[in-house]
């Protein structure tokens, strides 16, 4: 998919709770094709301590409104600066980057999209994509507490949403891997994005149950294009770039001890 350097206009930049923002961007020309699971590299201006671009996964692409949504966790000065940007401001992005999630096989009917924290971001775009392809994606979203659940209303528009919270304030109490769905239903494919410990637990369950499973990794990146080789992860074929060979990997290609 052809990569572009674009200046997009901010049409919304809303705080979700105190740790996240949902930024919606548009352009006068149609946005380029983007696959679910791909990401963008954002240039952060006016931040003295932010030198490199920030990789942000694509949360949703609204074709009708020609909007790109970015769900961003505010962690450092770079993302804090992004949180201060206003409607009408321009944001410079390189996109689309990475491989994205792969389509399910025709026989893979029951698809479970497991997300945790800000890792739920790419699953919204993926869910919409799968739905358009005629699948019925199911979401399993985990959080520490109900307040930390992000964009629930958006996920509910797309498919069935299951929830776990560590404190039991929403859905089933515990981690995503404790959810009853994993034992009550036969799952054909799992797509997962979230904290590494969560994804490893999911991967462990999937491999033990013989379920096809893709995970979206997040490593510190420089170029985002597979040129600098900074963001590598261990695979059975050696070091691979998370930015260009990933961010999505099938767990059978990784060397995780699970």
């Amino acid at each position: 998919m052809k990569k572009h350097i674009v200046d997009l206009k901010i049409v919304a930049n809303d705080k979700l709770g105190d740790k996240h923002i949902l930024m919606k961007l548009t352009s006068d020309v149609p946005l380029p094709e983007m696959r679910p699971g791909q990401f963008v590299e954002v240039r952060v201006d006016h931040s003295a301590s932010t030198f490199l671009r920030r990789p942000i996964s694509i949360n949703y692409v609204d074709k009708e409104k020609n909007e790109l949504w970015l769900l961003i966790q505010v962690v450092g000065e770079g993302t804090r600066q992004l949180a201060t940007m206003e409607v009408g401001d321009k944001l410079n992005l390189v996109l689309p980057l990475g491989n994205g999630f792969s389509d399910p096989q025709p026989q893979q009917k029951t698809l479970l999209l497991i997300g945790g924290g800000v890792g739920v971001a790419p699953l919204l775009q993926l869910g919409n994509y799968l739905k358009q392809k005629g699948f019925q994606p199911m979401f399993l979203l985990g959080a520490r507490t109900h307040k930390d659940l992000l964009l629930m209303h958006e996920f509910e528009k797309v498919g069935r949403v299951l929830v776990t919270t560590e404190d039991g304030t929403a859905g089933e109490k515990g981690f995503v891997t404790n959810h009853s769905i994993l034992t009550t239903e036969k799952i054909d494919k799992i797509y997962s994005c979230g904290p590494t410990p969560m994804m490893k637990a999911v991967a462990s369950f999937a491999s033990k149950s013989g379920i096809d499973c893709e995970v979206s990794l997040e490593n510190k990146m420089a170029c985002g294009l597979g040129a600098c080789l900074c963001c590598v992860t261990e695979t059975k074929e050696g070091h691979k770039c998370v930015c260009s060979d990933g961010p999505v990997f099938n767990i059978k290609d990784l060397t995780w001890q699970i």
């Binding site: 350097i5 932010t50 420089a222 597979g226």
Partner: protein, 303 residues
Amino acid sequence: MADLSVNIGGLQMQNPVMTASGTFGYGEEYADFMDISKIGGIIVKGTTLNHREGNPYPRMAETPSGMLNCVGLQNKGVDYFIEHIYPRIRGIKTNMIVNVSGACVDDYVATAEKINALEDIPAIELNISCPNVKQGGMAFGTTCAGAESVVSAVRKAYKKVLIVKLSPNVTNIAEIAKSVEAAGADSVSLINTLMGMAIDAERMTPVLSTITGGLSGPCVKPVALRMVWQVSKAVKIPVVGLGGIMNATDAIEFFLAGASAIEVGTANFIDPAVTMKIISGINDYLDRKGFKSVKEIVGALMV
């Protein structure tokens, strides 16, 4: 429209802007953003005799106005390059230059010999300054004797344009440059990265898997300019300048300091098409100042 062409020790270039090894892949990674054949020269990533997996993750740390890396020359080896990569990139209509690294003199020589046979590779950049490999690398670049030994050996085996990339982690880079010149190099490029370190105070650990790594970006530009200035006065062969060049003004500073050409490295990460802007910006500067050729401002600093 000024004349941007330069000649680096026999290597003719349409313009003096190259991309630094390890920051531009094999060029293809950036082909979506511009016509990469418009770049004066593309120095592809560090190539060694044998396959190298490089260092473990994490390999990168962001620092004030720069970054540290410890990739450690990950590459599939020169034979793989010749068989699988060279055929893909040999058609790119500009100078495709291979950066060559090694753990010992024989490795350097063997690798250079193999690349000497590739008709569409007009030059190599000999990396005697990689701070991220245990053996070799920077070891050769930090003593005159070490530099002389590897460069003269490679010079015998390699018949085309030989550019030697120098380490800034030395007391007297001009002396090293003179040894390299005496050993037969056609040009020197500098600076490679400054050896640095980043620490995560919360986790009380180094950020990089190798503890130390190579510093690049605008933060090193003042050191790079100083060294280009010192080296260009010490040697007669052309100097290729690099170190934190982000825009045309930075590039012009390096020409004024004595560089005949420049390399753009870390800036490619922030703006993948920055080389095009730098090339046109250099032309604008020359036109505005009334210079007919970029050669007129090489070493033209008024002191």
